[in-house]
Symmetry: C2
DNA sequence: GTCTATAAATAGATAGAC
DNA sequence: GTCTATCTATTTATAGAC
């Protein structure tokens, strides 16, 4: 009976170790960036030995890339869901904004990581992650083309629209520590994520709609 | 006559050194971030001895902060100019967007640096820089309040509006290297800064205007 | 003001025992 | 799978000559 006891426990421990490393790494990378993040600190935060990180993820870069890949996969999944759910192009744009906001809100480590990755020129973006990125932008392009075909939206660069969505969302989510730091000297930094999402939806549709007003339809 | 010759030449060289260091540092910090930037590389890029950096700027952090301070001063100046020029609140919002875009476009190093600074929680933002930041946001708030008083804009959080402006602009400008990298596999990333500014202006006004359409008035 | 040499600390990564 | 000990390279910063 206990023949496989040891392997099983080892596997369980391995999974637990991976999970603990993952959690500590997301925090560290989000707060410090890739170069600022220290493997020693990740190990300490995870409560595991440093060598385990290299055992499970090969290298600091490997660990970082696994996190990026996972999150971009989730975003691509969510956007695919938006397309599958259908609806008017306007509704899909709203859903697109909400979906991306939701994935990011679920992964507070992602916005700061992504901002830095952009600033870094996508140095750590491997082909798999780039593929997800491309797929998402393509799906947004489809939504916009449907809107243009229906005459309710003017033709717009998907990338431009994406900037208008991801820019404010990411900057807002990533700025939480900064907002907290300045909230004592400057009022008006206390905005909810829901307010931001709604503002972005209104703003984005206001920027591409041919209709007079793009009021929200709850 | 040549009594002061040496001091003068020294001063000139000092200014030249500072300028060369400044130029190399902006490039390095923009491309690598604070932690990723290496003092050796800045010295090499500037063509000066590494020790000069410490002589002129005290430390790596001191150099970084001097750059941040300078740029934020320029932004605050530009926005003060927008207020001074007056005009309708809508015109001022457009001018505000254009002014910030212009300062940033003049300093290509700034967008990536700022994105990382946000992601970092403003770790390097000293009180002087924070003051400029605060002043800019206050002036935007005044414009919005005037618009609300005139009835042409609905009340809006200045910070929310700021996110809608700076988010897309910064992300666009900072993503130049990334866009270049992906331009071969994905079309549609080739957008001009003017197109972005116009899109942001339309989008932002579309998000806060009470009027039916916030068409641009050239 | 500028340069050489070097101190002093840190960090990514691995070998090898258990 | 996990831990100890350590190697190697890198990096910020400074002392001191010119």
């Amino acid at each position: 009976m206990p023949v496989r006891a040891t392997p099983v426990r080892q596997t369980r421990n391995a999974d637990a170790s991976r999970a603990k490393i993952w959690g500590a790494a997301t925090t560290e990378f989000a707060a410090q960036g890739f170069d600022g993040a220290k493997v020693d600190r990740i190990a300490a935060g995870a409560g595991v030995n440093k060598a385990m990180i290299y055992y499970h993820f090969k290298s600091k870069a490997g660990l970082f890339n696994a996190i990026l890949h996972d999150t971009f996969g989730a975003i691509a999944d969510a956007v695919r869901g938006v397309r599958a759910a259908g609806g008017t192009p306007e509704a899909q744009v709203r859903a697109y904004v909400a979906a991306i906001a939701h994935v990011a809100d679920d992964r507070p480590f992602f916005p700061p990581i992504w901002l830095r990755e952009v600033a870094q020129g996508g140095r750590h973006l491997d082909p798999a992650v780039a593929g997800h990125f491309r797929e998402v932008l393509t799906m947004l392009g489809e939504i916009l083309r449907e809107g243009a075909a229906a005459g309710t939206m003017r033709p717009a660069h998907p990338f431009l629209v994406q900037l208008g969505i991801v820019g404010p969302l990411t900057l807002f989510m990533a700025s939480r520590p900064l907002r907290k730091k300045f909230s004592k000297v400057h009022q008006g930094l206390d905005v909810s994520i829901d307010a931001v999402v709604e503002h972005v939806q209104t703003m984005v549709l206001g920027g591409i709609s041919t209709q007079k007003a793009a009021r929200k339809s709850r």
